[in-house]
């Protein structure tokens, strides 16, 4: 078994067990989970280095050849996503640790650390799994951990929100299972590469039914309109550390699954028109929702929904350039969205809530906070020179290069959405950050400044700054990143590399 | 057809018959307690007969030993269940008093109640 692929699963799970044992020693627990994530980051970096040239790294778990055993696969896309996710997970973990050190949260750290590591393992497994059912297991690991996390500090509103979250996720899981049954019924295998080969002989109509069904299954988790409603009702209510990770990663895992299945399994089936309209609807409906929200977190959540549309749009285009753009967008969005939610968490820490109706003049209260908000807001609005700009340009270029009317419809929607995102996010800025600070906010700031937990607050701010900087770094290294994106997109469009790597050279290809 | 087969051929349908009759009783008895009697016990007899019949078909004694275990469980669990259900039925008043010839518990109950609360 290739160790590189095993580490992101095994180490976090071992770490989870360890932190569970260490639950009476908070410091040891914190150090342990940080170390675990560091190891994962390092491993992911090595993995990415191995795959950067388009190589597909394969590990047959247990040593059984592909269609029999479970295959773990890392192509450039998966490797990159593992790396970005683990970095984001690490930063958010440190943020949370800072918060715990300062005693600023009511989370239960004893439970938080092990579950968080399980989530890590689930996310990584979902990325590298090369087997449909194993993907389901990875999803379930991730989701179960997320259920546990979203109910941290279970106030009434949180319990309600997690009810919505859990039930929708469960519905998706059930449909996923149904989809697996149908795939197995049709092909008699559940290895992704094997399915890809065997679906070629299947009735096209049935194949397309499956393609659409899997779009629905993952679309629920990716919050694609019209299956997005749950997201703005659940994410904003969770603890910051958790909503940040959810917003950054969970939807992206689902988007990844959509990409993987639609490119590898159903590449022959043209559901691009469906994808396109879904993408357009997602962009527009999401951002219209963001405009009328009154809570910073809810605005961010609706914006999140809206921007999933961009990735689906790229997938709908389906060309190498478009998929490269999607990859850029994925990376950009993971980091930017996490930054935004962390900043929102800081706002909550400063003023006690995130409702726009009672926040004014945050620039005066904390200029640092203002700067930290401004950068991800720019990035999400697609203003240069941020990563959001780069990603959007890549998608627009791909659309123009394709030149079909559908592509132009998507581009038009993208432009409109970008403009509306700008309005939605800078509305927060003008309302919350400018103006005369409310007297109680000034007091709150004084209190925070004098409190004994400044160290924790500093660490939280520092980690938010690190995340924001990470966003800038993404923009800075956009050059190599887009090269990588093109390599990954080639692998995705081609599919042969993946299938051959998993099943061996003699495998039939679509 | 060996002797074992013949034994099986007698025992298994007999057991099934018992079970069936019990189930018919479950449907037909008008009172709750009556249904309980009908459901719980012919079933047990039927099960034991079937198990016995099966034992003759299995390859060896070792394989049949667990069947004894099943029967044993059944004999232990059925009374417990019946007793619990009976008690509940009575305490919930789901007893058709008209169909009772004698009810000595009803006479004893007030004092039983009083004792319980002590």
């Amino acid at each position: 078994m290739n160790v590189l692929l095993a580490v992101p699963l095994v180490v976090p799970l071992l770490g989870a067990a360890l932190t569970l044992l260490l639950r009476r020693l908070p410091t040891a627990q914190q150090i342990a989970s940080s170390l675990v994530l560091l190891v994962v980051v390092a491993d992911a970096a090595v993995l990415l280095a191995h795959t950067a040239d388009g190589t597909v790294v394969v590990s047959q778990a247990g040593g059984w050849p592909a269609p029999l055993g479970i295959t773990l696969v890392a192509d450039p896309l998966a490797a990159l996503l593992v790396l970005v996710s683990s970095v984001v997970l690490l930063i958010v973990l440190l943020y949370a640790i800072g918060q715990d050190i300062g005693g600023l949260s009511r989370a239960t750290p004893q439970v938080f650390h092990p579950i968080y590591l399980v989530l890590t393992a689930g996310v990584c497994l979902s990325f590298v799994s090369g087997d449909l059912f194993n993907l389901f297991v990875g999803f379930e690991m991730m989701l179960t951990a997320s259920y546990a996390l979203i109910t941290q500090a279970p106030t009434r509103s949180r319990v309600r929100a997690s009810m919505i979250y859990t039930l929708v996720s469960l519905t998706s899981s059930i449909l996923f299972l149904t989809g697996i049954a149908l795939v197995y019924a049709l092909t008699g295998t559940i290895n992704l590469a094997d399915i890809a080969g065997k679906l070629g002989a299947a009735t096209p109509a049935l194949r397309m039914v499956l393609a659409l069904l899997f779009l629905v299954v993952f679309g629920i988790k990716a919050a694609i309109v019209p299956m997005h409603f749950w997201l703005p009702d659940s994410y904003p209510v969770a603890l910051t550390r958790i909503s940040a990770i959810f917003a950054a990663l969970l939807t992206k895992v689902a988007v990844y699954a959509v990409i993987r299945t639609q490119t590898l399994l159903f590449a022959r089936d043209d559901i691009s028109t469906v994808l396109l309209w879904v993408a357009v609807a997602t962009m527009i409906v999401g951002i219209l929702g963001a405009l009328v929200q009154d809570d910073v977190n809810r605005v961010a959540s609706f914006a999140l929904v809206s921007h999933i549309g961009f990735m689906i749009f790229g997938l709908a285009l389906g060309t190498v350039a478009a998929l490269a753009g999607v990859l850029l967008y994925l990376v950009h969005h993971i980091v930017a969205q996490a930054s935004l939610f962390l900043v929102n968490g800081l706002i909550r820490q400063f003023v006690g809530h995130t409702s726009l109706r009672a926040i004014r003049g945050l620039t005066t209260v904390s200029p640092v906070l203002a700067a930290l908000f401004f950068v991800p807001a720019m990035s999400l609005a697609g203003l240069p020179p941020t990563s959001g700009f780069v990603a959007k340009v890549a998608l627009f270029q791909a659309g123009v290069a394709l030149g079909t009317w559908q592509a132009y419809v998507g581009i038009a929607a993208g432009v409109l959405t970008s403009a509306l995102t700008l309005i939605a996010l800078f509305r927060i800025w003008t309302r919350a950050f400018w103006g005369t600070p409310l007297p109680d906010m000034v007091e709150a700031k004084q209190r925070l400044r004098n409190a004994s937990n400044r160290g924790g607050l500093r660490m939280m701010t520092a980690m938010t700054a690190v995340m924001v900087t990470a966003g800038l770094v993404v923009a800075l290294v956009a050059g190599p990143l887009s090269e990588l994106g093109f390599t990954a997109a080639h692998d995705l469009v081609d599919g042969e590399a993946y299938i051959h790597a998993v099943l061996g050279e003699e495998a039939p290809t679509p | 057809m060996t002797a074992a087969d013949w034994i099986t051929a007698v025992l298994i349908p007999l057991g099934a018959l018992f079970s069936l009759i019990g189930m018919i009783g479950l449907v037909r008895f008008p009172t709750l307690l009556g249904r309980m009697h009908a459901a719980a016990k012919p079933d047990t007899v039927g099960l034991i007969l079937i198990l016995l019949g099966t034992a003759f078909q299995l390859p060896g004694l070792g394989a049949a030993l667990p069947l004894v275990l099943v029967a044993l469980f059944q004999c232990v669990t059925i009374p417990v269940l019946a007793q619990t259900l009976g008690r509940v039925a009575y305490s919930r008043g789901q007893i058709d008093a008209e169909r009772l010839v004698v009810d000595e518990l009803a006479d004893a109950l007030p004092e039983a109640k009083a004792r319980q609360s002590e």
Binding site: V137, R156, S157, A202, V292, M378, Q397 | -
Partner: protein, 827 residues
């Protein structure tokens, strides 16, 4: 090439300057002006090289794969702009050091934004890559946004800022698409390469140009997108002088001027540019005439001049190009001078209203003189640069220099230019009169003499205008170099061309302007009498309001907050996408159905009937059951049914697991159930009962039919046939166990992890957080103290009013606020 470093140095300054402001106050402006001064000096040193024909280029690779590289290229047009941006910028920065008091609020942000802006502007005018241009372009928009709302405590400032941002950045997005199209059509994103070999035969080219022009027009405040510029005058004067007179608004003009050599002859270009330019000129001039606020007067004047510039830049003839260069420089110099003058007046007199100023010329003759020179330049009087430039502009539309311009269009434009120039003369005079003249009706105000440092800036700029007017040959070579892109008769920027038609037209303009100024009361009355046009800003407001209203409507409809509805929509989507596809396939006979010979049969085994009946009956009965306990028992029975089915299908292990799990689930259900009410509430669930039933039946049928058809259409034998031989060599007997423990051990491992995680989750929900437990009392709500109450860390009143869950917050009341930890996240 030094330029990238110069641009970066601006960014560095921007990062450092907030700390510097804390130490030395407004004098930080002087430090911030250093990179600008360096740029100016550098540009001057390059000019001789440039005039010799050596263009300076540099390139920084950023994202070559997407064609986004930071190419820089200094040519004549860029040089003009660099000189303008850095030269005027340096002066204005120095002015800023004197303008702002030391304790000015948010001064650090202001200086930093200005530095960023200056750097970005340098980038805009020197870059040779469309995307890099966009990058710098939007950076100027963003810094302008921050600068306009310098006084962010005023509602008006905030509104103006966001308005400017939405207009410029919003249309900037269109421009970006235009760039992408242009680059795609032309095969390169390098501007110089595009201009050298402009694409011609693509149907998308006009679209691309329209989009690019839209962005440029928004940036340069062309009608009808001009309204943001006057509103932006809420910014401090140095900002207005720099961004909204000298530099940023020139960005659009620059882009037009930059692209015109390649695309002026492509179809909608001229029509658009000329129409927009003319309209803007006239509207701006007309509006300027009726302003009372000097700064607004200048703002509308700027709008008018920007129209003029766009017109010239977009015309695409040799002489027009020369005139463009001239007007660019002249306008940058005189308009910033005038703004600075207004700033000084505002600062010292406390007002900038014409109706509040009188006799200032006597108080500060130097200032009046500088203003006079600048205003004269604006009005187009010799011997100033404004005159030189305007002569060239008039010549461009007079016969003889038309180039590829159609004669009729030229005539039309000429008339427009003349009208606008008359207006310009009139408002220039009005400015001078309004700011400095004695007025009987107005009392003189106190006016402390401004310091020399304060005065220096306008004087320097105005003197530069005079100097270049007298010595036009300083400008001419550069202008010629830019105009070389067009063929045309030779023409030079000069004070005296002889008695040309242009001079005659100029004389006419001056005469008419004088009349108009003298008759200013009549003009004012006429303006009042005319019906007001619909304001472009009203349209903007309507549009924004419309967007928000649509947003609200859509969100109100869609985001119902009700889980059953959400899940229903998910099911409906499943029916609408794969479901409809399957239906189409069935109708279109795209799928095979199993035939009796292939196993189409009702059942395999009569016992299946029993089991299926158990499943169906219990399922339907569960749906119809409204009491919790019977429903639970039905579910349990269903579990046994499933187990029975598994036994029938040769899966004893599965049956075992089902029974175990089912029992455990039942036990847990019992424990939870006994807390809950005995009867399920049967409130209407938002969807009609029948509709729901129909939807669910359809969804269930869809799944089952898919399963049926797909098992029939299986393409290959299942891979699991391979397990048997492998299992033998591995020594196992029970294949299911082998798969679980060996072949797919990872799944089993994951399953255990899920189980443990769920257990921890359940434990932390039910066992931990005991203090959140509520006593089973009717008034339990009042006891949920720390739940939704205002956290102690936050002000109770503020959080309570702010809380979106107001009802609960108020219900929670004071609670145990004193015992809860300092948790800010309790909401």
């Amino acid at each position: 090439m030094l330029l990238p470093y110069l641009i970066v140095s601006h960014a560095v300054v921007a990062v450092l300057v907030p700390w510097l402001v804390r130490a030395i106050g407004a004098r930080a402006f002087l430090v911030a002006s250093l990179p600008l001064a360096a740029s100016a000096v550098w540009a001057l040193t390059q000019s001789s090289d440039l005039l010799a024909g050596n263009e300076v280029t540099a390139s920084v690779a950023w994202i070559p794969a997407l064609g986004i590289t930071l190419d820089f290229r200094l040519d004549a047009l860029a040089l003009t702009m660099v000189l303008l941006v850095s030269g005027v910028g340096t002066v204005i920065f120095c002015y800023g050091a004197a303008y702002f008091p030391a304790r000015e609020r948010a001064l650090g942000r202001l200086v930093a934004s200005m530095a960023v802006f200056a750097g970005a502007m340098l980038g805009v005018v020197t870059t040779d890559n469309l995307f890099a241009l966009y990058v710098f372009w939007e950076l100027t928009s963003v810094s302008s946004f921050l600068l306009i709302a310098h006084n962010d405590r005023k509602e008006h400032a905030r509104r103006s800022a966001i308005q400017a941002l939405i207009v410029t950045a919003g249309f900037g997005l269109l421009m970006l698409i235009g760039f992408v199209l242009l680059g795609h059509i032309g095969g390169t994103y390098r501007i110089s390469a595009l201009l050298a070999a402009p694409p011609v035969d693509s149907p998308w080219l006009p679209v691309a140009l329209v989009l690019v022009l839209a962005g440029a027009f928004a940036k340069s405040a062309q009608a009808p997108l001009h309204f943001w510029l006057p509103a932006a005058m809420v910014a401090p004067t140095p900002v207005s002088a720099y961004l909204h007179a000298a530099a940023m608004v020139k960005g659009g003009v620059y882009l037009v001027a930059r692209l015109a050599p390649g695309f002026a002859d492509v179809d909608p270009w001229r029509a658009l540019v000329l129409t927009a330019g003319l309209a803007t000129m006239v509207i701006g001039g007309w509006r300027a005439l009726r302003q009372d606020d000097l700064k607004l007067l200048l703002a509308y004047g700027t709008v008018s001049q920007l129209g003029f510039l766009t017109l010239l830049a977009g015309t695409g003839t040799h002489v027009a190009a020369l005139a463009t260069e001239g007007v660019l420089l002249a306008h940058g110099l005189f308009k910033s001078t005038l703004f600075l003058v207004v700033g000084i007046i505002d600062h010292k007199a406390g007002t900038r209203s014409i109706s509040g100023l009188s006799g200032l010329w006597r108080r500060t003759p130097v200032l009046a003189l500088a203003s006079l020179a600048a205003a004269a330049s604006m009005a187009g009087l010799p011997p100033l640069l404004g005159f030189v430039a305007k002569e060239a502009a008039l010549a461009a539309y007079l016969p003889g220099h038309l180039g590829s311009l159609p004669r009729s269009a030229a005539t039309l434009v000429l008339i427009g230019v003349v009208v606008a120039s008359i207006l310009t003369f009139a408002y220039s005079a009005r400015f001078l009169w309004g700011a400095f003249a004695d007025k009987e009706t107005v009392a003189e105000r106190r006016f402390p003499a401004p310091s020399a440092a304060f005065l220096a800036a306008p004087v320097v700029l105005s003197a530069a205008g005079l100097l270049l007017g007298v010595l036009p040959f300083l400008v001419d070579p550069i202008a010629q170099r830019y105009a070389d892109a067009y063929t045309g008769a030779s023409y030079h920027l000069e004070l005296w061309h002889g008695l040309t038609p242009a001079l005659g037209v100029s004389t006419l303009i001056v005469a008419a302007g004088v009349v108009m100024f003298i008759q200013r009361d009549r003009v004012a009355r006429a303006q009042k009498a005319l019906p007001r046009w619909p304001e472009a800003e009203a349209v903007y407001n309507l549009a924004i309001h419309g967007i928000f209203t649509v947003g609200l409507r859509v969100t109100r409809r869609a985001q119902s907050g009700s889980l059953p509805v959400y899940l229903g929509i998910i099911l409906a989507t499943m029916l609408a996408l794969p479901g409809v596809r399957l239906l189409m396939a069935i109708i279109g006979q795209e799928v095979d159905y199993p035939q009796p010979s292939e196993g189409l049969r009702l059942w395999d085994n009569p016992l299946e009937l029993v089991v299926a009946l158990i499943l169906i009956v219990t399922a339907v009965a569960t749906v119809r059951e409204h009491r919790r306990f019977p429903a639970l028992i039905l579910i349990s029975a269903m579990g046994f049914g499933i187990a029975g089915l598994f036994v029938l299908h040769g899966a004893p292990d599965l049956a075992l697991t089902v029974v175990l799990v089912e029992t455990l689930a039942t036990i847990i259900l019992v424990f939870v159930l006994r807390r809950l009410p005995a009867v399920f509430p049967t409130r209407p669930d938002g969807w009609g009962k029948r509709l729901t039933a129909l939807l669910c039946a359809a969804a269930g049928t869809f799944v089952a039919v898919s399963l049926w058809l797909m098992t029939h259409a299986r393409t290959d034998a299942p891979v699991s046939r391979g397990f048997a031989e492998r299992a033998e060599e591995a020594g196992g007997q029970n294949l299911v166990n082998m798969i679980l423990a060996d072949f797919r051990a990872l799944d089993t491992f994951g399953e255990i992890v899920v189980l443990v995680t769920a257990a921890i989750a359940v434990a932390s929900l039910v066992l931990l957080n005991r203090r959140d437990r509520v006593v089973e009392a009717p008034d339990a709500d009042l006891d949920t103290t720390e739940e939704e109450a205002a956290p102690p860390g936050a002000p109770a009143a503020g959080a309570a009013t702010a809380s979106s869950t107001t009802q609960e917050a108020s219900a929670a009341g004071s609670g145990s606020a004193d015992t809860a930890p300092p948790d800010q996240e309790s909401r």
